[in-house]
């Protein structure tokens, strides 16, 4: 019996000869990530247990992105814990305001993640790097504290589910629509404790930003990972982000694929030719309907950003739709480029001007409103359409507010009309 891509990566990071789903393993990590919410607790645990030095200063990444620029004094305290630890441990990869970005957009962009790696992050959306053929998964602060000690983590080897997408995507249908559709089909625990593998002719043609959006939301189906086999598109991406590693490894990466006789607990196959832009309605990412069926939903706010959809191609799509148009009076449009680099690109390409002229506001990179942190909190009775990843009760502020999830194309179109609108 062969192995899936996920199993191959896990096995390669152990001393074992073989692994099987359900088995508990201890594996060596290539990278471990923490942010201003989860890392302070990890650092506290690490120190409390009497440890003083991290296992490898090159493999510990800290990104203060959730409540930064600090929304209040207590958030400032937490960010300070990261800054101090980074300085004391001489961490190579600490990203202060000014060179930071939303972690899951930043790490791929900086070339810190690439095919074949095993990565943990104390953030559930760490599964984003699966788009690069990297086994990356979200863990808790204590797991991160342990990783600081010896660079290892325990895993239960997951079962695998294969998702095959066939057909041809409609003009405004993106990776976000594919993943929302998928979660709508299988439910928020449809891949509980499994590794999802996205494949098929539609995925082969999908650009990296759309792939990141898909892998990012694997967790919303309960999955440990959302993997895509490395191909030419992956390699072209890494060639730009980390030329050195690309040079050394790209020949091996192209062979990094699931075996033909690998075992899958389930296989789903869909023809997505007729798929319309999708929207997840309150209060679960699985409550998915076509955008065209939701035109009676009036909006108070639209947010375009996050680790799911704050990348340059997301902003380009939004700008294409918003160019020369005005945001519906009374509606707040908040656009958040995910990293400093994306922000700069958006300025150079004239996207920021389009957004501001349309009546939108453009924020510095932050997770901000996605998790109800700051920069766009909702009050009672308000509705927001966001390109983010979760729409739980109270996720963006008031427990009496409503969050809908969509692609940037649907979000931008709806910002103009004031109600949910398919482009």
């Amino acid at each position: 019996m062969g192995y899936t891509l996920g199993e191959k990566i896990l096995l390669a990071h152990t001393d074992k000869k073989s692994i099987r789903p359900g088995e508990f393993i201890e594996a060596r990590l290539d990278l471990c990530l923490g942010n201003d919410i989860t890392a302070p607790m990890a650092i506290e645990e690490f120190k409390k247990a009497g440890f003083t030095k991290v296992f490898d200063r090159n493999k510990v990444v800290l990104v203060p992105d959730h409540f930064t620029p600090a929304k209040d004094q207590r958030s400032a305290n937490q960010a300070k814990v990261l800054a101090n630890f980074a300085s004391e441990q001489k961490l190579k990869n600490y990203f202060e305001i000014g060179c930071m970005g939303i972690e899951h957009a930043l790490l791929p962009e900086k070339g810190l993640v690439y095919p074949g790696m095993l990565v943990i992050g104390a953030d559930s959306h760490t599964c984003t790097y699966g788009a690069l053929g990297c086994y990356s998964t979200g863990v808790g602060s204590t797991d991160l504290a342990r990783a600081y000690v010896d660079g290892k983590c325990w895993f239960k080897v997951p079962e695998n589910i294969k998702f095959i997408y066939k057909g041809k995507l409609n003009k405004w249908v993106s990776g976000k629509d594919l993943v929302l559709f998928t979660i709508g089909q299988i439910g928020v625990d449809g891949a509980l404790y499994c590794a999802m593998e996205f494949t098929g002719p539609v995925i082969k043609k999908l650009d990296m930003d759309s792939r990141f959006a898909m892998s990012n939301m694997a967790i919303e189906a309960g999955a440990r990972a959302g993997l895509i086999e490395p191909d030419r598109i992956t390699l072209d991406y890494v060639k730009i982000t980390n030329k050195k590693i690309w040079g050394a490894k790209h020949k091996a990466w192209i062979k990094l694929k699931s075996d033909p006789d690998a075992n899958y607990a389930k296989v789903y196959e869909w023809d997505v030719t007729k798929l319309e832009p999708q929207v997840a309605c309150p209060h679960l990412p699985s409550n998915v309907k076509p955008a065209s069926a939701l035109s009676d939903v009036k909006l108070d706010q639209v947010v375009i950003g996050s680790c799911t959809n704050g990348r340059i191609s997301d902003l380009r799509v939004a700008a294409k739709i918003l160019k020369g148009k005005k945001v519906k009076p009374g509606l707040r449009l908040i656009i958040i480029p995910a990293t400093q680099k994306i922000y700069m690109e958006a300025i150079k390409e004239g996207l920021v001007e389009i957004f501001v002229k349309a009546g939108g506001v453009v924020s510095t990179p932050t997770c901000g409103p996605c998790l109800g942190g700051h920069c766009g909190i909702l009050t009672d009775g308000e509705s927001c359409l966001a390109t983010t990843n979760r729409n739980f009760i109270g996720r963006m502020g008031s427990p009496k507010s409503f969050v809908y999830l969509s692609s940037p194309a649907v979000a931008a179109t709806s910002a103009i009309t004031g109600h949910i609108t398919s482009p």
């Binding site: 508990f24 919410i37 989860t38 302070p40 607790m41 506290e44 645990e45 409390k48 247990a49 009497g50 440890f51 959730h66 409540f67 209040d72 207590r74 958030s75 305290n77 937490q78 992050g121 104390a122 953030d123 559930s124 760490t126 979200g138 863990v139 808790g140 602060s141 204590t142 797991d143 504290a145 342990r146 000690v149 010896d150 325990w154 928020v188 625990d189 509980l192 404790y193 967790i219 309960g222 440990r224 679960l284 998790l371 109800g372 942190g373 979760r390 739980f392 009760i393 109270g394 996720r395 427990p399």
Partner: protein, 162 residues
Amino acid sequence: MIIKGKAHKLGSDINTDDIISAKYLVSTDPKELGSHCMEAIKPDFVKSIQPGDIIVAGKNFGCGSSREHAPLAIKGCGIAAVIAPSFAAIFYRNAINIGLPFLELKDADKIDDGDEIEIDLSVGVIKNITKDQIYKTQAFPEFLQELVSKGGLMNYIKESHK
């Protein structure tokens, strides 16, 4: 270890934002986190808890974010254990790592709000005193039992690095 308390029923897919809203993630203190547990979905939840009480929920408990503040908030408000048919993966590992007892019980819906429950963790048996019923759950896999018996992940690591 025996846990005895009243059941507090919650629905399916209780997520980490339900358990502890992100606005409170500026603290790592279990007591402070605990004072806001389930606030958005059940404002009176914390007030109704007696130390030792038990959450009995539907499937996929703890889905959503990786915040370890979630199991800490549950512990911090006095809850001694969580029973549900299934748990989200990150919540599962966080609960083990910080030592919050939880049991996977397919028939969790047989327990009603307010039932007196007694759990024998060592054998994974749940007794419903109110209904005079007994439910058997699956024992933890060996690896996890070892983690729990050492008092959580960091203690386990400390010992192995001596």
